[in-house]
Symmetry: C2
Subunit: 623 residues, 2 copies
């Protein structure tokens, strides 16, 4: 356990769980990271789609971002209400389940689960994208870098990253601060130059237009830009972790996050237009992220550029961390409701839900590997899940207000309905416009996940049904089992098994299976000497020797047939199959030995009735 201890830290006692509550200053970094970091890829995703329009395309980014900010405001107002209504934490799964029924909750859960996985992949790939923009020599190592960062985040989470916010505070401050400087300086330069500022480091020439603007293309650009909205639900999920009074503190935190996000998105869009910054082809040589081009254009490639890019890399990579907090919690809630195996509800050595963390890392790693770590290929799959969950959550709130009633219920209903309509409409646009590029995969995966959850649930219900009993137990009479001992050659190991059998019962069958070509010594040769005579002297019933032969060189079938026949012959008795087992001092020594004991055990479990029990006696080898 030495290595594990060093990697993951010493196990924590359940007593060690400290209650720590956060305020606005830590709330923004801890819960806003996912949302704020989307500013680094949302506008870029829209600009990439506008690339075929050439220089003319860049101008379209401003109205697209404006619409996105408007939807963001509607969603913001609606989530403020959710915070007040669910001070215990109102995740989409909970809100949809309680107000729209378990099936709607499960759809929201499936959508969220997928989105959390995608968020990890997108956050890390965008972070690495920013890194290779600053250091182009790293471009060929995109996938290994992604997996390295994923591994580090996973390890940190398995250790139990305290949500102290300290780790998050510095990069978040740096990210917001440096980008704010870029935006302010850029805007000043823009105004000073009558809207046509001279870039310090010129962005690459915009490629010529290949097509004219079409509604379809603009819808697709909008849909891609909508990825900027992911992550805004984090605060409403986590109300209980705020310090008292939790609701207003959480609401203020949400307000701060949304305000910062709108400033960042708007500033980036306006400056891209002013500086004529288009996206570059993702995954191709010479790729640079839009923010890299923008920072260089406004302030040049000096020290400040590298500080800003460093903050972006850190924030994007850490934004993946939000999923590492939320996904295991979602799994836990699903496991509590028996939609996932119970192990997802158990906390590991460091008081975190280790199984959920590991599952998330494996799935996100597979995505990063499969999609070559390129953000642009992942974006079409992304956001659908988030908007589906948003929509179900808001629709759930509509049902909530209608049910609870009371003063202000009408106004709240209208706000939630507006949120539901805005996110629902966005969901439709995103799904249709991205369908061909990969959204179809999401459209397939979410229902499959839904079916999977329900099948798991049905299985547990079935098991519980078959296992449950509250009747006082009928006490059985004492009765010796009929013992069947699996014997090979005669050895101390067999002796150990027989000794236990003799203490247990008078009715013992020692069964040796021999194949015709077997070189194993026949036990009957020395049976009298080894067993028969001592038993007679001790005046006990001697165990019966049964030698079975197999024409097919199979060891198991004749043995299991014998046990099954014995069980059928004695319908009232327990049959105890004793399998003497050899325990090695080193695991690799096990490879030198055939695994007959385990195989025999497995076959008896599969083929025999409940009245057959399997007894392993142990014989430890010493070095």
């Amino acid at each position: 356990m030495g290595l594990l201890d060093r990697l993951l830290g010493k196990p924590l006692s359940t007593h060690d769980e400290a209650e720590h509550h956060i305020g606005l200053a830590t709330g923004v970094p801890v819960l806003g990271l996912d949302a704020l970091s989307s500013a680094a890829y949302g506008p870029e995703a829209a600009l990439t789609l506008l690339l075929p329009l050439g220089a003319a395309g860049i101008a379209h980014v401003v109205p697209i971002i404006a619409i996105i900010c408007a939807i963001l405001l509607v969603v913001f107002v609606s989530y403020r209400q959710t915070i007040a209504a669910y001070p215990g934490g109102g995740g989409s799964y909970t809100v949809a389940k309680e107000n729209l029924g378990p099936r709607a909750g499960l759809v929201a859960g499936a959508a969220l689960a997928l989105d959390y996985i995608l968020n990890v992949a997108v956050g890390i790939s965008a972070g690495v994208g920013a890194l290779v923009s600053a250091v182009p020599a790293l471009l060929p190592y995109t996938v290994p870098l992604c997996l390295l960062i994923l591994g580090l985040i996973t390890l940190a989470n398995l250790r139990g990253l305290k949500e102290s916010g300290a780790i998050f505070m510095v990069p978040t401050l740096a990210f917001v601060g440096t980008l704010a400087v870029v935006i302010v300086v850029g805007l000043v330069k823009m105004l000073a130059s009558d809207g046509a500022p001279l870039p310090v480091a010129a962005p690459p020439a915009v490629p010529p237009a290949l097509e004219a603007a079409s509604v379809w293309l603009l819808l697709k650009a909008f849909a891609s830009g909508c990825t900027a909205m992911t992550g805004v639900e984090a605060v409403s999920n986590a109300v209980p972790i705020f310090r008292k009074p939790a609701v207003p503190v959480a609401q203020r935190t949400l307000t701060a996050i949304i305000a910062l996000l709108i400033v960042l998105l708007g500033g980036i869009a306006v400056l891209c237009k002013a500086y004529g910054i288009a996206a570059t082809e993702p995954g191709a040589d010479g790729y640079q992220s839009v923010l890299s081009l923008l920072v260089a254009a406004v302030l040049g490639r000096g020290v400040f550029y590298y500080v800003t890019m460093g903050a972006i890399v850190a924030v994007l990579a850490l934004s993946a961390n939000t999923s590492f907090a939320d996904f295991p919690r979602l799994c836990r809630v699903l496991a509590d409701d028996r939609y996932l195996p119970g192990s997802f509800a158990e906390r590991g050595r460091r008081l975190v839900f280790s199984n959920g963390i590991i599952l998330l890392a494996v799935l996100a790693g597979a995505l990063l590997f499969g999609f070559g770590g390129i953000t642009d290929r992942l974006i079409p799959l992304f956001a659908i899940g988030a908007f589906l969950a948003f929509t179900l959550s808001q629709a759930g709130m509509v049902a909530h207000w209608r049910r609870t009633g009371g003063p202000g219920a009408r106004r709240s209903t209208v706000i939630s309905a507006a949120g539901a309509i805005a996110t629902g409409a966005t969901l439709v646009v995103v799904t249709i416009s991205k369908f061909g590029e990969g959204a179809w995969l999401t459209v397939i995966i979410v229902p499959l996940l839904y079916v999977f959850f329900r099948r798991v649930h049905a299985h547990y219900a079935d098991v519980a049904d078959q296992l449950a009993t509250i009747e006082p137990m009928a006490m059985p009479e004492r009765q010796d089992p009929i013992v069947v001992l699996a014997a090979g050659t005669w050895s101390r190991m067999t002796q150990r098994g027989l000794k236990f059998a003799l203490r247990l019962s008078d009715e013992i069958h020692v069964v040796q299976v021999k194949t015709e070509t077997s070189t194993t010594e026949d036990l009957s040769d020395n049976w009298q000497l080894l067993i028969g005579n001592p038993a007679r002297q001790a005046r006990i019933v001697a165990p019966k020797l049964v030698v079975l032969t197999s024409a097919y060189r199979q060891f198991f079938t004749p043995f299991v047939d014998f046990v099954a026949a014995l069980a059928a012959e004695h319908p009232e008795r327990d049959i105890a199959v004793v399998i003497p087992d050899l325990i090695m001092s080193h695991w690799w020594e096990g490879l030198y030995h055939n695994n007959r004991g385990s195989l025999l055990r497995a076959m008896i479990r599969a083929r025999c009735t409940d009245r057959v029990v399997v007894i392993s006696t142990l014989f430890h080898l010493h070095d």
Copy 2:
């Protein structure tokens, strides 16, 4: 089992083992394939080394092949004697072990094992090389084609390829027949044209000379050409499969094989020189095997060309099959002597040594994959093992003749000594000249294998030592074990375990481990109702309930600690740990459940003494 049955055929009974004996006509294809097929890569391997000499290099192939044929004749005479001396089959392992001691035998065994693996890889890669020479479009698929052929051969061998020779006879006849036609026609044309025949299809121009001939280069070419000698030991290994009188029939078969091989090698060498055929760069674009160039030069690229190439591909691929017959048999002999796990001595469903076949396929597949399926890269590793085994076998025969004495012993000793010296000298030349190109790997692997075999042997000796007993067994008194039942929530499954325990003993501890955050119901709440009262009514000792708590959310450690403490407290008693087990109808349902039973079982086996036995009671779920 439906799929297995279809893939591998129905299991065969041990009775089905038919004795079939072969004569000269089937003996040559079955046992000569490996040797004869070397004609397809031996001369080519030498020519490839001569490539830097340009056109001048080609002439050197004739003396090189002449020397190889001379050594072949010495080895032939020596192996004729081995056949007579070991009518029961004189593999190098057996001959070396019996005459030079077990260590020498083991070295021969290790060398042979490696060589058999390499033979599979070389045979298949050379076959695929011939195929891509005829159909250059297949060149990029070299490795997949190699693995496909390997898979088919493995499957055929797992089914139990009857050594009827029918499958081998046709390609062998076609191979020898077509090459004989090529050689005869080529020689006639050569003689008719005064040694400078006009090629029908001209071979590619020989690249210019890059260096002058040196002794070192010629030695290397000779060493590569020596791969043509591999496979000549097959007949002496397999004397018992010949029809009576086995020894002379086997000797005639060996004579026929060696004669054919010498004709093929000599003819190819002379014609390559006459037609000016050099090797082409292996693995590069435009690669063609030497035989492909030769056949095309003598007879053009007509139907005959494709028939010949087809026969070469078939014979090379089938030559891998010789290893599939010999390697598992070698493993079996090693397993019988306890140098390998016993499972290598057990025959599978189709009466073949399935484990040896599978191991060979895996190792050869890894080689083909690792070396990109390129014969030329594999050649330097090859032949060293064969020559080491040859040398040990001949040296063993020298010892044999000296020991047995008798008439003709002196003559036999001289012949075997000549064989040992010839093959030993070749071994030294091959090892030194190929050391840098990959032979060093062989020089490392053979000793490692030797050490591995000896460690396995030592392990088995140690186990046998600890297990062996022939003393009459001391009969124990009847005594109830102390039972510890692992309980979670109360269920029919737990009930089943407790019922078995109650039949067995009066002293039962029902142990529930709870973590502080556990949502599991505490058994103590309903204990009186479920167990206490019924036990009182039945006037039996009620089982004791023990609830353990764990601050570290660990289930196993507190339980195992409890069992260990109990065992220490009662040094004279057996402790029976009952683990109730749930048996699913489908294997994948097992994934829905944590595997606590198996893990607990493993921990108890690892940490408790021999007095603790593990009892699994079964509860089958029905659909």
